[in-house]
Subunit: 411 residues, 2 copies
């Protein structure tokens, strides 16, 4: 991609009401636009990053046998009344609206009710089980406050997956597969080292649920862990009986701020029972479907990554999710010619800064945007058949031969 | 894909309140689920079809130099008040809602206002122009009635593109490119022969806009055309002065029902003026940006295709957008072994009906789902190194050698 062809450019300032550092950088680098508090647009660079994260999650969900679908945002209150989640007293983040033909509608903050209801059409017998289905879908949540940039917004992209099993055993098997798939997702998006599976409150039906928490100084949560981090607990489960169970003492636990980047939950019969999702078992008895749910806030993960790795010069994207891998700056006639040819060959991975701008400005923008590798192709180094290569994360620079560069670009 | 691994299955009946034939088939074949009137979920087969249409549109928009972004559904009334499109008297299809922090919000039925406002950040000088940007985004429209299945819904996927130019000449150049891109889209999705670019009402600022209308008996619109269809008019422009301009007489025009599948519109200064989107021209004068907009309802196009080609046995998908290209039915041990190997090699194009079901049922389901080619691999034909090939659209069947089949699958 030639930068001159893109409509965005880096901005000197973020909006004054934007307090999250990651959001300030994301706005200044042209990744997102703030529509209003808690509502953001994804501009071309931001959308590419978001889609890269989405694709990694999709591959991992497909790999454990889940099927992709896409449900509606508009919701019929009837379904949610059956589970007592329609009233604002029970769920205080609904956006509600009205049909001009008459009647109230809601904007889905999550999808347990409609997908459980949908499955009543397709699950009749034990032969139809298990079912694993997921979607990438825009959720709406009427948050009272929104001040963490794209980490907590009123409209956001979520991957939500639901499992439907005949019994607890089959459920546990899939639940374990989902745990492993989630770990692979965090590994691949670059959060592997600093993300922990934690024990969290299980609600009424299960002892624990699990969250995935990324260590982050500005995170909204606090996690507690023992020396080797083999036990990591959410704050709400740091209770005498839980500590006893794990054989740890409160005074031996350390704490750290963290941001939740996913959760997996054994729902048991919480939704299938009130909505009547039943099946005929092998021995002809009617049984209720055993459910689980598995969420990752895709735009939230992007925000956490932005926040986690940013430095005083700007964003730093892990290679797997960066909108482009290489930022090329050309100096001189021969340099420009080579750079232009390389971009033509690799338009999906190279962002060529072909703007009529000072080299210093280009260096600063490359750093603000956080593209993993900067390549400077100048007449001077070209004379020696070499180019300058810089790593955004470490700041290291080195000279590469043209042959080495070509080999890297073709990977 | 193995059909036994998918949670959907064909249904004997569609909901009683579903009157559109295409929607009845889409529901019965497991492509969509009706959440409520005018609101549908896209199930795995339907989502694949929708994504295939989306990808064709994306490629054609990228090819004319447009950049993809994604804006929010939630809208701040302030922007829409500036163009007089907030009040329900002016725009009667708003879904409106309220922030718990206080204040009214709307769900975007279209995006002229927010994208014009966004561009104020990036367009300052003639050097920043032109800009062409598009998105695939879920629109919300509070339609009073919804009875055409996924052809007219209250929540739908739309590709909306906007152009920002320094002057009318640059605008006209891009407008023409968009016309050609739209024609390529309809060609590629299989609607080329029966879709016409029509003259439609241009509103206050332009003499005409253009629509793309597909001939369709159940279409909501009526188009008027001359003998060779070189002139095709929407009903609202069949007026004495327009007929004079084109040199045709009303009595020489034929009419036909049609469904709108896209529109392109010269907006001129309609939004840039009230929202203050200006730029410094080459000679230092402040000028207003010249705008255009270009829409395709992606889910609507899918509905029109479903309606257009369906026959008394079910759906008939054009090859380019079908969720899978080949539906394989295996009979006997050797047939099953070969079918299973082929599916493993081509899981993205083959739907293997490996269910424990009667062959007659499999034939009927293949037809209902509208997969373009059905391949029957039976021990009997295998003995002669052949398979049976059937074309869903024409009904023709023939025997292929295994070598011929392999060559087709590898294309």
């Amino acid at each position: 991609m030639k930068l001159s062809r893109s409509f965005t450019r880096t901005l000197r300032n973020a909006p004054k009401d934007e307090t999250a550092r990651s959001a300030q950088y994301l706005i200044r680098a042209g990744f997102v636009n703030k529509e209003m508090a808690g509502v953001y647009d994804f501009l071309p660079l931001g959308l590419r990053t978001l889609k890269n994260i989405e694709q990694i999650i999709r591959e991992e969900m497909n790999a454990i046998g889940a099927e992709e679908l896409q449900m509606s945002a508009l919701q019929n209150p009837e379904l949610w009344e059956k589970t007592d989640r329609w009233s604002d007293q029970e769920v205080d983040i609904w956006f509600k609206t009205e049909l001009s033909a008459g009647g109230e509608l809601g904007l889905a903050p999550t999808h347990e009710e409609p997908i459980t209801n949908l499955m009543k059409t397709y699950i009749k017998s034990y032969k139809d089980l298990p079912v694993f289905a997921y979607q990438f879908q825009t959720k709406f949540r009427n948050e009272l406050r929104a001040k963490s940039g794209i980490m907590r917004t009123r409209e956001f992209l979520m991957k939500d997956m639901y499992s439907f099993c005949a019994d607890e055993e089959t459920h546990n098997e899939f639940y374990h597969k989902a745990e492993e798939a989630y770990k692979r997702v965090y590994e691949r998006v670059g959060l592997g080292d600093c993300t922990h599976q934690t024990f969290a409150s299980g609600g009424i039906f299960a002892k624990f649920s699990h969250e995935f928490q990324t260590e982050l100084p500005v995170g909204e949560d606090t996690i507690y862990y023992n020396d080797d981090k083999s036990i990591v607990l959410n704050e709400e489960v740091v209770l005498p009986e839980v500590l006893d169970e794990f054989g740890v003492k409160k005074e031996d636990l350390k704490s750290e701020n963290a941001a939740e980047v996913g959760n997996i939950f054994t729902l048991k019969y919480k939704y299938s029972e009130p909505l009547g999702l039943k099946f005929d078992s092998k021995d002809g008895k009617e049984q209720t479907v055993f459910m689980g749910c598995y969420g990752i806030g895709v735009s939230r993960v992007m925000g956490v990554i932005a926040e986690k790795f940013a430095d005083d010069k700007g964003l730093v994207w892990p290679e797997n999710i960066a909108p482009y891998k290489y930022y090329i700056i050309a100096i001189g006639e021969a340099g420009n010619k080579i750079a232009s040819e390389l971009e033509k060959e690799h338009p999906e991975t190279i962002l060529l800064d072909d703007r009529d701008a000072r080299v210093g400005e280009k260096f600063a923008d490359a750093e603000l945007m956080g593209i993993p590798y900067r390549i400077v192709i100048s007449d001077k180094t070209i004379a020696e058949e070499k180019v300058e290569w810089a790593d955004r994360k470490t700041g290291e620079t080195k000279l590469l031969t043209m042959g080495e560069l070509t080999a890297i670009l073709q990977k």
